[in-house]
Subunit: 865 residues, 2 copies
C-alpha cells in the first residue's frame, strides 16, 4: 500500500488511513471545494514508524513524488528560485484531537528563498514574516525550543521599535528578528536546516513523534482514544492570508457550537496567517463584522459553509484563508459542541432533511445527557478553580461548606444551602448527603460511596480532590494553599471536577423539547430495556419521569441507615436472645414493608427488583476505631463495652470478601425471610388498594448454585404462607457465579449482573483503595480507562458473555439485566446490548444515557449487520 | 434394570451398584468363600427412593423373589414354623463408611416364631436372645428409640437377677426382657410389627433413610464422598454365633492395620453374635488366643484370610461367624490402616508379587504422607482433648504455652520447649513461630497465615480453635472452661486438630525404607514436576531432601520481617527524600542478595523462582489500631506521630484488593529493580564460587498484560547492566489474568498459578474472614469441601484450564506451574496433572504428597486412557 495519497486521489479512502483532516481534505477536493493542492501521508506510515522505530522504507521516495505533483499543480518549485513552493505540514489523526498535535507553516523557505519570494511578490515584509514564522514554528515543533523564546524576542523587538502590532514591524525588523531567532536556536545547540527537503523530512518525523507527546497522551486517555490509531500528516501548498489587506484568515462554525442555533459563527483576521488566530497572538473579529465590511466575501464564506454542511451532513468547524481576494478552504471537520448544542443540532438536521433519526442518535454523546438536566457553571464568568477532583456527579452547586452530617442539618435548619465536604463519605453520612446541594470529597474514585450515592440522588459531586484536606474536629479545611472554615461559601462543578472559592454564577439547564424528541426516537429504536437503581420512592419517581421502565436494583440496606431504623437494625444484631431479636425483626419488617410499598407504588405497573441485604453487619455498627479510641481513653459509655466486643467480633480484614450477602442471609435466615415477607405483605396491601405492584427479588454475592438452592428452600414456606409468588433471581457478581452460570440458571428466573463487585473481583481491585494506584495507572497508560467506570470487555465482559451463553443454554427463559454503575455508562450499555442482555439499570439521571446508548447500539448493529 | 441381585448372580457387577459390602459378598460367593446365602438391593433403588421420595415400583416383588430363593437355599421358611429363615439387613455404600450406617439382625423373627425356633434348636435361651436382640435393633434403627433404653433395661434385668454377664441370664429372663423391650417401644408410641414381611420392608426403608442421617452426612463431608452415591442393602440368611460354646463370632485383619506387618490380627468372641463385638458390649479376645485354644479353627481362619488377600489383592478386614463349628464369612473389605501401615502394605504386596508398583501407588493416601515424618500422639494413652481446631500442619507437639513472640524467646532461652498460642498470627510473629515446637491459634482457616507458615516450616499447628480465647496482656488463656496461664504445659496434634492439657505421650515417626521405595516408584512414573515453596535456605534444604526438584515460590517479603531488615524496610517506606530512600534500599539490597545466595546455593543446579514483593507496605509498619490507641492515650513516642500519619495514609479497607503486588512495584519501581539486582548479583557471585544457580523471577497480582510490559521495561536496563538474563514470568492469581492469559503469555517464559488468591477472588472470599461462615457452609453442605484447601475444579479450575489452553496457544514454550497451597493437596495435584501443568510447588513436607499424587494421576490416566 502506498504511504502517500494526493488529495484528489484519496477520495473514498477511510478516515482510519487518512486521518480526520486528510479525509476531509480529500472529500473536499473531490466535492470541488477550493482546497489548496496537497497530499496525505497515511496513519499506516506513522504506525510503522512507531512500531519499528525507523522511517518506513520508500516513504521519502513517495513524498518526493508528492512534492513533484504539487510543483506541477502550482507552477512553483520546492526550494526553487522566484516564488517558491511553500507547504504546510499538519498532523491529522483519525479522531479529532484539537490543539494536541503540531503544525508547521511556510515550510520549504530558506534564507536564500526569502530573497526570491520577496522579489516575486514584491513584498519583502511578507517574505521575512513568513521566514521568521517558519523559524519559530520549526524551532518549537521540530527542535523543541520553547515557544516563549521566540515570543519574547518578538516582544523585545516590538518594544525596541516602538511597534504596537506585529504588522508595525518592517521588513528589516523582521529580517533582524529572523537572525535573532536563528541565533537563539543555535545557542540552544540546534541547527535550522537551510535545505527544504531536510526541513520536510524532519517536520514529518516531528508530527509522527508528536503523536506520543504528553498532551496528546493525556487527551487520548481522557477521551479513551486507542493508542495505535496514529496520526496522518498532511502536506499542502501554502496560501497566504498575510499578503495585504485583501488577504486574511479565519475559522468558522456552520452553527453556533454553544447553543446549536443555525447561524454562521466564527472569526476572521485580516492580513494574517491562520496560526495567529489559533494561537491567540492577535485578536480576530467576529465573522458578523465581515458581513458589513465585505458582504461579497461573507456571502462566499456562507455559501461554502452551507455546502460543507450539506456535503458532510453535520455541523462543520472549518478553517479558511483569503489570498488576495481568493477564498481557500484549509480544513473542515465535525465541530465540537456543547451537549445542549449537540442535541439541538441533531434534531434540527433531521428536521432539515439532512440526516435520518438513526443518524441523529449517533451525533449525541450519550454520556453527556445527564449534565443537560443540571445547572452548570457559567463559563463566561467563572474564576480559576482552586482545586480539581473527579467529576463524579454532573451539575454545579453553590453552598456553605459543612464538614459533618450534623453541621449539614444545622446549617440547613438555619436556611442555608450547604455543600458537604468530607475526606470520604460512609453510609452514616446519608442524612447529610440528602440535605446537601453538592458533595465534595478528598478521597475516592468514580464509584466511591460518595460518587454512587450522589449520582443516585442527582446531587452534583466532586470526589477524589487531591488538594483537599478536611479537619472536621477543628471545623476547617484546606484547598491547596487556601485555608477555609466551616460555613465558608464554595462552588463545585460536578461535570468538570472544578472547585471554586465563593459563589460562581450558574446557568440553568438548557434541555428541552429537542431532548425529548431525540429520546423518543431512541426509545422507538432500542431493544435493550432501561431500568433505574433507586432506594426511595422519590428516586423511583424521578427515574420514572426520566424514562426508566422499572427499578433494576433496590439496595434494601439503604433503607436501614435512617436513625430510627438503624437503631432497630443494631438491636437485631446485638440481640442477646431470640425474644429480643424477634422484637427488632418485627419493627424492621414494618419499616421495610412501608418502604417497599412506597417504591412499588411509585413504579405501579413496572417491575421493581429488590436485592436482599448485602453489606456485612458491621456496617450498621459504629466504626471499630472510634470505639477503640474511646476505650483507650477510658471513655466508653455504659453498654458500649458490650458493643465494642461485638464490633470486634464482626470486624473483618477484607469486608468486601467477608461475611455478607448470601453468606449472611443463609446464616441469619430470619433477615432473609423477613425481607421477603415485607415485600409480599407490601404487594398484597397495594393490590388491595388497586395498584399493580410487580416485585422481583434477588440474592447478592452468590458463588455457588447450592447457595441459591438453600436460600430458596428458606423462602418457599413464606410464599406458601402468602399464597402467591414473585420472580426470584440472583446477582451475578463473583467470577465464580459467572463461571458456573449454567448451574445457577435453571434455579432462577433472572440474573442481574453486579458489575461493580464483578469488576473488583476480576481485577482484584477494591474501588475504595484504588485511589492509591489507579490515577498512576491511568496516567502511565497501564489501564487505558478506569474499569470501575467503563466496563472492561476483555476480562469482565468475557465473564458476562460466557455466562449469558451458558445461562440461556440451560434456561432459555432466563431474563438478564445489569445493575452495576456501568449500566449508566455509554460504552458499557452498548456492550450490554451487543451481548444480548434484556436490560440495564442505571442511577436515575443516567437513565438518559442508557436510553440513548442503547439506541446507538441498535443503530450500529443495523449498520454493521 | 433389576433392583435385587442374589450374591451368586451379582459377580462382576460394579461396586457403584452393589455397594462395597454387596460387591465383596458377590465376589466372595463367586470365588467360593463360605458366605451365607443372600441378595443385594442396589444403590439404584436407594437413589430412586431419595429422588422421588417413594418406594421404587416393583421393588417389593423383587425382594419377595429374593427371599423365596433364600428359603430354597436354606430349606427354612421366612416367618415359617419350626426353624425359621432369619435374615440380616445391612447397608453397604460404594465407599466404606464404617459405623455410619445401621444393621438389623435376626429379622423375620416374631413372638410366635420364637417358640418354633426354641423347639427346633432345643435352645429356648438362644431363641429369646435372638428375639430380644431383634427388638432392640429394630427399635433403635427403624423406630428411632434410643439405644440406651434397651441397654438400661438389660442392665436393670441383670442387676435384678444378680447376673454378671448377658450369658448368665436365663431363657425366662430374656423372654421377660423381650416383653419389657416391647413395652418400652409401645410406651414411646411405636409398634413392633409381628409380621416378618413388614419387618423386612421397614428395615430396608430404614437403611435407605439412614443414608441421610447426620452422622453419615458428617462422615461424607469429611471424606468428600458424593451425596448421590447412595447405599445398597444386603439381605442375608442369618448364621448364629451364639448357639453354644462351639459357636462364636469375630473380626480379622489380614495384616496389622497399625504397623502393616504381615500377621493375622483380630478378635474372637465365643457364643456371641457379631454385634456384641462391634458394639463393644462384651470384650472379645485376640485371635492369637484362639490359636492355642482351637488350632484347627485358627488355621481355617488363617487360610481364609490368605485366600481373601490373594483374591482381593489388598489387606482385608473381614467378619466371620462360626455356627456349631462351621466357619462363615459375613463380609470382607479393604481394611482401614494407618498411613505407616498403608505404605508398608503397599510395598510388601509388590514384593509378594500380588500387585504391581502402579497399583501400590494407588493404595496410599497421598495426603497422609507428611504426617509420616512427624511425631504423633500415642492413641493408646491420649486423654480426652479439651479443644479441637483445624489440623493445619501435621505432627504432634508438647510444650509450654507462650502468648507472644517475646515470651517464646524468653522461655526458649531458658531451655524450654514452647507452643505459641495466639488469637491469630501475623508476620510479626515469625520469630516466635520459628522457635515454637507447635502453633495454636483461635482464628483462621487451613490457609491462614499460621497454617501456611507452619506447614512451610514443618511445625505442627492447630488453627481456628473456636474454644480458645487468648489474653496476652493478662498472660492467660482459656480452652473452653479451662483457664490456663502462660507457661502451662499443653499438647497439640496437628494431624487431628486435638488440643490437650499437659503432656501427652508421643510416638516417633515410623516412616522408613518402604516410603523411600514407594516414592522412588512415584518419581519414575509421574510426569508432573514437584517443587517446593520456601523462603529460607533451611526450608530449601529440607525441601530438597524431601525430593523437591526446585523452588517454585520464594516469598521475598518474608525475608524482610526479621528485626534488622524490617527496620530498613520501614526506613525505605518512611523516607523523607530520595537520599534516605537510597540508603535504605542499599541495605535491603545487601540483605536480599545474601538471602538469595543462601537459597540458590541450597538449590544448586535446580530452578528457584523468586516472587517480587507482594504485600502492601502497611504490612511492614506497626498496626494502625495500636498507634491510634497510643494517640488516644496521649502516649505516642517522639517520631510516632509521623509514623501514625503514614500508617493512616497507607491504611486500606480491603488490603487484599489494594496497593500491593505489581501495583506497588510499578509505582515504587526502585524496589522492583533492587530485587532483580540483588538476584543477579547473587547469581554472579555464586557462579564465581563455582555453583550453578538457576534463578527465575515473577511478578505478583497481574491483572493486565500492560502491567507486565511496563515492569519488564523497568527490568531491562538491569539485565543490560549485568550482562545476562534470567527467565521472567508472572503469577496468575487474579481472574482477569487468567481470562487474558493469551495476551500475557507472549510476554513471559512462565506462568505460576497463585491459586490462593485466585480462589479468594473467584469466590469473593477472604480466607482471613471466612471463619465467620465457612464452617457453617461446610456443615450445611453449601460447599462440599473447603475451596481454599482443595482446588475448586468447576470455577477456579475452569479459569486454570482456559488460561492453560490460551496461554500455550499464544506461547507454545510457556512453562506452567502452580504455587498455591493447593500444590500440596492430593486432589488438586491430580487436577494440575490432568490439565497439563508442568509442575506444582508445595510447602516442603507436602512435597511428598505432591510426588505421590502426581504419580497417581499418571496411573489413573493410563488406566482410563
Amino acid at each position: 500500500m502506498p504511504f502517500v495519497y494526493r488529495f484528489e486521489e484519496a477520495g473514498g479512502l477511510g478516515r482510519e488511513l487518512l486521518g480526520g483532516k486528510g479525509y476531509a481534505l480529500a472529500e473536499m477536493a473531490r466535492a470541488g471545494f477550493p482546497v489548496p493542492p496537497g497530499f496525505t501521508i497515511t496513519t499506516g506510515a506513522c504506525r510503522l514508524f512507531h512500531r519499528s522505530g525507523k522511517v518506513p522504507e520508500g516513504l521519502w521516495d513517495e513524498v518526493e513524488r508528492g512534492i513533484a505533483a504539487l510543483e506541477e499543480a502550482t507552477g512553483r518549485a520546492f526550494g526553487g528560485a522566484g516564488l517558491p513552493l511553500l507547504v504546510s505540514v499538519r498532523s491529522g489523526a483519525p479522531v479529532s484531537m484539537p490543539g494536541m498535535m503540531d503544525t508547521i507553516l511556510n515550510l520549504g523557505l530558506t534564507e536564500r528563498g526569502v530573497e526570491g519570494l520577496a522579489a516575486a511578490t514584491q513584498n519583502p515584509r511578507f517574505a521575512w514574516d513568513a521566514y521568521r514564522r517558519l523559524l519559530a514554528m520549526y524551532g518549537e515543533v521540530v527542535l523543541g525550543v520553547e515557544a516563549a523564546v521566540f515570543a519574547n524576542l518578538l516582544e523585545a523587538m516590538k518594544a525596541e521599535r516602538g511597534a504596537e502590532r506585529d504588522l508595525d514591524l518592517s521588513a528589516e525588523d523582521l529580517a533582524e528578528l529572523a537572525a535573532r531567532f536563528k541565533r537563539a536556536i543555535e545557542e540552544r545547540g540546534h541547527r535550522f536546516p537551510e535545505e527544504p527537503w531536510e526541513q520536510l523530512r524532519e517536520a514529518v518525523l516531528a508530527v509522527f513523534k508528536s503523536w506520543d507527546n504528553p498532551r496528546a497522551r493525556v487527551y487520548r486517555r481522557h477521551y479513551q482514544i486507542p493508542e495505535d490509531l496514529c496520526t496522518a500528516v498532511n502536506v499542502q501548498a501554502m496560501v497566504f492570508g498575510n499578503l495585504g489587506e485583501d488577504s486574511g484568515t479565519g475559522v468558522g462554525f456552520t452553527r453556533n457550537p454553544a447553543t446549536g442555533k443555525k447561524e454562521l459563527y466564527g472569526e476572521y483576521l485580516k492580513n494574517a496567517q491562520g496560526e495567529d488566530v489559533v494561537a491567540g497572538v492577535r485578536t480576530p473579529e467576529p465573522l458578523s463584522r465581515l458581513k458589513e465590511e465585505n458582504p461579497a466575501l461573507y456571502a462566499e464564506i456562507a455559501a461554502v459553509a452551507e455546502k460543507l454542511e450539506r456535503h458532510f451532513r453535520d455541523m462543520q468547524d472549518f478553517e479558511f484563508t483569503v489570498e488576495r481576494g481568493k477564498l481557500y478552504l484549509l480544513q473542515s471537520r465535525a465541530g465540537k459542541r456543547t451537549p445542549e448544542a449537540a442535541v439541538r443540532i441533531a434534531v434540527d438536521l433531521v428536521d432539515e432533511g439532512l440526516i435520518s433519526e438513526e443518524e441523529a442518535l449517533l451525533k449525541v454523546d450519550a454520556g453527556s445527557l445527564p449534565a443537560l438536566l443540571r445547572a452548570r457553571v457559567d463559563p463566561a464568568s467563572a474564576p480559576e478553580p482552586v482545586g480539581r477532583g473527579l467529576p463524579a456527579s454532573p451539575g454545579a452547586a453553590v453552598g456553605h461548606a459543612v464538614l459533618s452530617p450534623e453541621a449539614a442539618e444545622d446549617w440547613t435548619a438555619r436556611g442555608f444551602d450547604v455543600i458537604l465536604v468530607r475526606t470520604e463519605t460512609s453510609p452514616e453520612d446519608i442524612t447529610g448527603m440528602f440535605l446537601a446541594k453538592g458533595i465534595l470529597t478528598a478521597r475516592g474514585g468514580m464509584t466511591s460511596h460518595a460518587a454512587v450515592v450522589a449520582r443516585g440522588m442527582g446531587v452534583p459531586a466532586v470526589v477524589g480532590t487531591a488538594s483537599l484536606r478536611v479537619e472536621p474536629g477543628k471545623k476547617r479545611f484546606f484547598l491547596g494553599e487556601h485555608e477555609l472554615k466551616e460555613g465558608d461559601l464554595i462552588s463545585i462543578d460536578g461535570s468538570t471536577g472544578a472547585v471554586y472559592l465563593g459563589e460562581v454564577a450558574l446557568l440553568e439547564s438548557g434541555a428541552g423539547e429537542e431532548l425529548k424528541r431525540l429520546l423518543s426516537w431512541a426509545d422507538r429504536i432500542r431493544t435493550l430495556g432501561v431500568r433505574a437503581n433507586a432506594d426511595t420512592p422519590e428516586d423511583a419517581q424521578k427515574a420514572r419521569e426520566l424514562g426508566a421502565e422499572g427499578i433494576g436494583l433496590v439496595r434494601t440496606e439503604h433503607m436501614f441507615f435512617e436513625e430510627e431504623k438503624l437503631r432497630w437494625m443494631r438491636a437485631l444484631i446485638l440481640a442477646d436472645d431470640e425474644a429480643e431479636a424477634k422484637v427488632a425483626l418485627k419493627r424492621l419488617f414494618d419499616y421495610q414493608k412501608q418502604d417497599f410499598k412506597g417504591i412499588l407504588r411509585a413504579m405501579d405497573g413496572l417491575p421493581v427488583t429488590i436485592r436482599f441485604l448485602d453489606p456485612p453487619l458491621h456496617e450498621f455498627l459504629p466504626p471499630l476505631v472510634e470505639l477503640e479510641r474511646k476505650e483507650a481513653q477510658g471513655a466508653l459509655a455504659p453498654g458500649e463495652a458490650k458493643l465494642l466486643k461485638q464490633v470486634r467480633a464482626l470486624a473483618e480484614q477484607n469486608p468486601m470478601l467477608g461475611f455478607r450477602g448470601i453468606r449472611l442471609l443463609l446464616i441469619r435466615p430470619e433477615i432473609l425471610t423477613m425481607q421477603l415477607e415485607a415485600l409480599l405483605a407490601a404487594t398484597r396491601e397495594l393490590r388491595a388498594e388497586g395498584y399493580d405492584p410487580r416485585p422481583e427479588a434477588m440474592l447478592p454475592l452468590i458463588s455457588d448454585a447450592r447457595e441459591v438452592e438453600q436460600a430458596f428452600e428458606r423462602l418457599e414456606p413464606v410464599f406458601e404462607r402468602y399464597g402467591f409468588r414473585i420472580p426470584l433471581g440472583t446477582m451475578i457478581e463473583t467470577p465464580r457465579a459467572a463461571l458456573t452460570a449454567g448451574r445457577i440458571a435453571p434455579l432462577v428466573e433472572f440474573f442481574s449482573y453486579g458489575t461493580n463487585d464483578l469488576t473488583q473481583l476480576t481485577y482484584g481491585i477494591s474501588r475504595d483503595d484504588a485511589g492509591k494506584f489507579l490515577p498512576d495507572y491511568l496516567e502511565s497508560r497501564v489501564f487505558p480507562y478506569d474499569p470501575t467506570e467503563r466496563l472492561d470487555e476483555e476480562g469482565v465482559g468475557r465473564l458476562l458473555a460466557l455466562s449469558v451463553r451458558e445461562g440461556r443454554e440451560k434456561n432459555p427463559d432466563l431474563k438478564l439485566g445489569l445493575c452495576g454503575e456501568h449500566g449508566g455508562e455509554a460504552h458499557s450499555v452498548k456492550f450490554a446490548a451487543r451481548i444480548g442482555l434484556d436490560y440495564v439499570s442505571a442511577s436515575p439521571y443516567r437513565v438518559l444515557t442508557a436510553r440513548l446508548a442503547a439506541a446507538q447500539a441498535e443503530v450500529e448493529k443495523r449498520a454493521s449487520g
